[in-house]
Structures are given as structure tokens and as C-alpha cells.
Symmetry: C2
Subunit: 351 residues, 2 copies
DNA sequence: CGTGCTGGTGAAAACGTTTACACCAGCGCC
DNA sequence: GGCGCTGGTGTAAACGTTTTCACCAGCACG
């Protein structure tokens, strides 16, 4: 319980190395390495001496030295559009925890939902020679970032992206199916004029797939299909402008491409003097926790974000360890429609 | 635009090294290093040859090799209680962006609001020999994690923590003053019975300071002071149990130790059949963006979370570069009371 | 009593950088 | 014309590990 005294002056004292331990234990560094990593045989007596020296000197092997000789660090790099979107934060939390348990540290990078930024975001990660990468990119098929990772020979798992080419490790959800399910739920409540609002549409294959799913359902029901409305929710969710679509389509329901945007859409509708869900219903995707706490609660398609992070980490660690079963392995986690107070019967409709 | 073809087979091809470049440019590795880092003189002709070789071979210097010889990596480690709390996610986003601009990568770790986990969370970070660390710990004065960082001689900036001992770099806010301000706002609206709800009280010096501030204001106004109520918001914000405090104190206002918790409290009150703000007002701390989008909007004390991240990163990079002005530098960023729909006049009170 | 194996140990190379140092050519200066 | 500087270049050491290889002792086996 007694905390180690904290030196106030930041003495740049040098860390103890394997040589210090070897000297203290009166042996070679090879034996120290063998004990520390439990590789190769060491006699009981020497093992004890080394263990004592390690403890006394508080030896912590340098990952840098280790990485150099092993040609890969025990680090995994993660690229997400933004850590401030709860769905990615949840992912990241699970991913980090699983990585830590597996003895790996996690490096982060953000693309800010811009394909052009992916490269500059991922370069520093690659420079650290990580054991592997987990990426959520704008468009897997054309991603320069992914190409760089592949060129560097770094095992990579895509997260949340749509399946593009085979031979890729991927942890994702059925975005298109989710779109269909959500639209079906709206149609079932009598909605006929349904709008789709997306963030950076061009920068998210998820948003595009969800839109296509919604479109599938609309077409199947013989309902009018509107092109998606782009609403910049990144910088300033309080400036979402729905005037145009409200005037043109007079939708009774709006599907947002994710929950964060959906909450912004609800707020925007209120600014327009429209009641949710009495005038307009709203629904999103992701199932972020906060959506269930607000009033009215947010109708959404939920997927296990944290589990997607842990799964991606586990898959990557498998890949890294050579336990990579089939190299191109796609894991599609289930989604679930979660009803909420933002979704009601369409006005002027007797079901 | 033409994307580099992505090899499907994960060929573990070896990265090009400085030697490859030297061979190609017909010179020594020293000259390559000089050109890459722009250190030392190189003739125009050779400089050109090397630049060409670097480009053709797509040479990216290994940070691992560099870190080994420089004894520190261009990486900074960040420990926060949880990346899923938007206030820390915002911090992290700003921090990462500033670090990247400064040529540094960011390693993350989470303590899950448990002092006991701080050490195991930070050890892998220290093992990577980062240039510096940014920590938000449970209790700076007794933090074993902080002690480890100091023992390893790693420059450290504390974030959000309370000032403990001098000689520490710290980016924070006036938590206690914020508590006073928030309580004053409540008292000004006629509230007399004010409860304080905290998450892991023992694991957050911020929560404790905010409580003390609230207490200050209550005492100054001659109002009754209740001990804080602990509500576990980490796993399951939907199981916050307020029955006890509602029965005992019958508060007209509840202050939550942060916004995430405050939103949970609002939901819990609703489950108890109480209207917010008509029956009970609620306020929190942090000023998370989503608080302004929900209805009723959340009254809160807002601080510039993202800027705190960027500031902490900038301060750390200064420290690392030796530009560390005074070593023990505390920067207190301003806070601002942000009124919201969750805060109304106390019932049965004519102001 | 050799022969071969096995357990225990150390010496040394390798990993990819940076940088101190040495060297040489050219040039200005006395 | 010798001297000292400077610009340009290369050699080699160092950083902290892991791992291969060699070596030696002891022991079972024939």
C-alpha cells in the first residue's frame, strides 16, 4: 500500500537492461533471456539467482530491443474514423482490453471520415512496425491505407467495413440487411415517405450499404425512393439542416445513418417545430448506450460494438500467431432492431 | 487515383532498410540517414541520388531502430479511466491529433476507474519506452502508476487530476470551483435539498473535488449537506438506484459527478415516475456534446475537453523536447456553466 | 570404455537506426 | 607553400534484445 516515493525532479535515469541483470546474477544475458521468456533450459539455482536480480533491479525488458530483433513489435495499430463516435469508442475499448490481455499495446489513429487522411494517419502506425492492424476505412476496395499495410506485409483485419474482395480478414455486420430491417419496421408502422440522412456519405461504405438496405425495402414496398441527404454531423451536430428534405418530401420518418446523427436529427426536427415521434419518427444504427437513456429513447439497429472490438483483436492475434485459420475470414456479427420512443405509427394512418 | 494493387496473399515480405537505400544510391548508410533526417551536410548530387532511391524503394525508416538508438520512441502513452466516456474520448481525439502533428504516435490504456488496474494498464506502455505519458489517475498523490513512470524517468503530464504536489506538469480544471458554481446556480433557482451522485467516488479525485465544491456552496448558504451517493454507472447506467436518496432527502435537485452519469440519473428519475425538471432538476459536469442535443438539454459545467487533450499533448511535447519551461507547470483551463432544460426553479418556490 | 545424448551455459551475431570520429579534398590566408 | 578550416563522405560503435551455435559435463547404453 505504501506508494513508492515519487521523485519530483525528472531525473532521466537510465532503465536497467538485461546486461545489468546478467552482471548481478553472474551469468550471461542469454540465460537471463531464457528465464524472462521461459525459453530454453536453466538450472534451478541460476534461475533463482536471475529471478532475484530481476526483482531487485526491477528489470522490465525493453519492447524496443525485442521488437528490433523479432522484426515486429507487440503492438497493434487501430485506425477508426473518430474515437469520439461512441460506437468506435466502444470498439476501441474492447479491442484495447483484449489486446492487453494478449500482451499487446494499442496504437490509435483517426481518419476523421476522410479517405485522404487515412494514409497520413496510418503511416506513423506502420513506422512502428506493429504486429498487426485493425482498420475501418472509407472504402476498402480503393483504400490506399490498406494497400500500404499490405505492402508492408502487416496482417490486417478490417472492422465494420463491407466485404470487398476475398482473402480479407473482416469483422463486420450486415449493414444492408440492417437497413432493410429498419425500413421494414418503419413501413410496418405505416410510414410511406421515408428519408435517409447520412453523414459523410462518400466516406462510409457502411452508410452506403445501410442506405441500399433501406432502398431495398422501399422498392419492395413500392414506395418512393429519395436520394440520401448529406448532413455534416462531424463539426457541429447542432447545425444539421433538414429544411430542404422536409419541404420536398415531407417525410413521416427519417432514417439516420448512425445514432449520433439520429440524435442530431431529432434535435434539428425540434428546431423546426416538429415533434418526435408524433410528427416525424426517427431511427438510427449502432445502438449506442446513450440512445436508451434519453427521452424519447432512440429506435435503432443495435450491434455488439464492444464485442466487435474484442473479436477483431482476437482474430488479429490469431493471425499474428500464425493460428490464422482460413486467411480470408469474414465474421458477421448479428444485429437487432431495438424499438424506441422515437418511432411511432405514421400520423394519419390507421394501421 | 489508381490504387496500389492489394496482394491478397499475406506475403511477409521484408521492409526495405536503410542499407537497401545506401546500396541503391551507392553510398554509406550515414549519408542516407543524413538526408532522411536532414542532419549534416550532403552534396547536391548525392542528395538527389538518395532521394530517388528512397522514393523508388519506398523507404520508411523503422521507428524501432530509431527508438533503440535514441533510447526513446516517438510515441506517447495515454492512460484514461475509459475511452467510452465522451469527455475522455474528446480529450483523446485532440491529444492524438496534436501528437500526430508533432510526429508522435499514441498508445492507449484504460484503468476502468480502478486504481488497482492502473499499474497493469501502464506497464505495457512503459515497456514501449515512450517519449512521454499523459495520465488521468484515480489519486495522483498515491498513484503507483505515476511512481512507475517517474522511476522509469519518463516525462509525464497529468490530465484532469487535482493538483497534488508541486513539480508536476498538469492540465486540469477547477473542479472544486466548478462544483461551487453549479451549486450556486441551483441555489439561485430556489433549490434547498440538493443531492450529489457520484460514480466511483473513491476512484476519482475529480468527483471528490466537485463534491467539495458543491458542499462549499451548500454550507455557505446554510443548507443541509448530504454525503455523496455512489451509483455505478460503468457497467449498466440503466441500473442506477436512487430509491434510497429520494426517500431520505426528497431532493429537488441532483448534481451528478459527470454528464454521462447525469443522463443516467435523469433516466432513473423517470423510472421513479418523477419529471425532470418539474419534480427534480439535474445537472452534471463535462459539457459533453450530446447533452446539448437531448431533450431536455442537460445543464452542466462545460470545459474544453478536446482542447485539454491538445494542450496536454503540446505540453508533453515541449517537455520532451527540453523546451519544458518551468518543469512543474499547472495549466487550469476555464469552465463555464451551461444552462439547460434539466434545470428549473425548485417546485413550490416563488423566486 | 567409447559413443551419443541431454541439460546447462556462454559467446557472438543479428536486427535498423544514429552519430562520433576519421579521413580527404579543396580553399583561403599568412 | 604550409596551415588550418570546412564540406563531404565513410567506418564503426552503440542501443537492448533473441537466438544460433558451440562447448562441456554428466550419464545411459552398448
Amino acid at each position: 500500500m505504501d506508494p513508492t516515493p515519487i521523485p519530483t525532479s525528472d531525473t532521466p535515469r537510465k532503465a536497467t537492461t538485461i546486461k545489468d541483470v546478467a552482471r548481478r546474477a553472474r551469468c550471461s544475458i542469454a540465460s537471463v533471456s531464457r528465464v524472462v521468456n521461459d525459453s530454453g533450459p536453466v538450472s534451478g539455482a541460476l534461475r533463482l539467482r536471475i529471478a532475484a536480480a530481476v526483482a531487485e533491479l526491477e528489470f522490465r525488458p525493453s519492447e524496443v530491443g525485442r521488437s528490433l530483433v523479432l522484426k515486429r513489435s507487440r503492438t497493434i495499430g487501430v485506425l477508426v474514423p473518430s474515437v469520439t463516435n461512441p460506437v468506435f469508442a466502444d470498439c476501441l475499448a474492447g479491442l484495447q482490453e483484449t489486446a492487453r490481455r494478449g500482451g499487446h499495446a494499442v496504437l490509435i489513429a483517426q481518419s476523421n471520415y476522410e479517405a485522404g487522411r487515412e494514409v497520413e494517419a496510418i503511416e506513423p502506425l506502420i513506422a512502428e512496425r506493429p504486429a498487426g492492424l485493425v482498420l475501418t476505412v472509407c472504402d476498402p476496395a480503393s483504400s490506399e491505407a490498406r494497400a500500404r499495410a499490405a505492402a508492408a506485409g502487416i496482417p490486417t483485419v478490417l472492422l465494420f467495413n463491407e466485404a470487398s474482395d476475398p482473402g480479407v480478414a473482416l469483422v463486420t455486420v450486415d449493414n444492408r440487411g440492417a437497413g432493410r430491417d429498419l425500413a421494414a419496421a418503419l413501413i410496418g408502422r405505416g410510414h410511406r415517405r421515408i428519408a435517409f440522412v447520412a453523414g459523410r456519405f462518400a466516406a462510409s461504405d457502411r452508410a452506403r450499404a445501410r442506405y441500399e438496405g433501406v432502398r431495398d425495402a422501399l422498392v419492395a414496398a413500392g414506395l418512393p425512393v429519395e436520394p440520401p441527404v448529406e448532413a455534416d454531423f462531424i463539426d457541429g451536430p447542432d447545425r444539421i439542416d433538414l429544411a430542404d428534405i422536409l419541404d420536398r418530401l415531407r417525410p413521416t420518418a427519417i432514417v439516420a445513418s448512425n445514432d449520433l446523427l439520429a440524435i442530431g436529427v431529432v434535435a434539428a426536427l425540434r428546431r423546426h417545430g416538429l415533434a418526435v415521434p408524433d410528427d416525424v419518427s426517427v431511427a438510427g444504427f449502432d445502438g449506442i448506450a446513450i440512445g436508451g437513456l434519453i427521452a424519447p429513447s432512440l429506435a435503432t439497429i443495435a450491434w455488439p460494438a464492444r464485442a466487435m472490438g474484442t473479436t477483431a483483436a482476437a482474430m488479429l492475434l490469431d493471425l499474428v500467431a500464425g493460428r490464422g485459420r482460413e486467411p480470408g475470414r469474414t465474421l458477421t456479427l448479428p444485429h437487432l432492431f431495438r424499438p424506441g420512443g422515437t418511432l411511432a405509427d405514421a400520423p394519419n394512418t390507421s394501421r
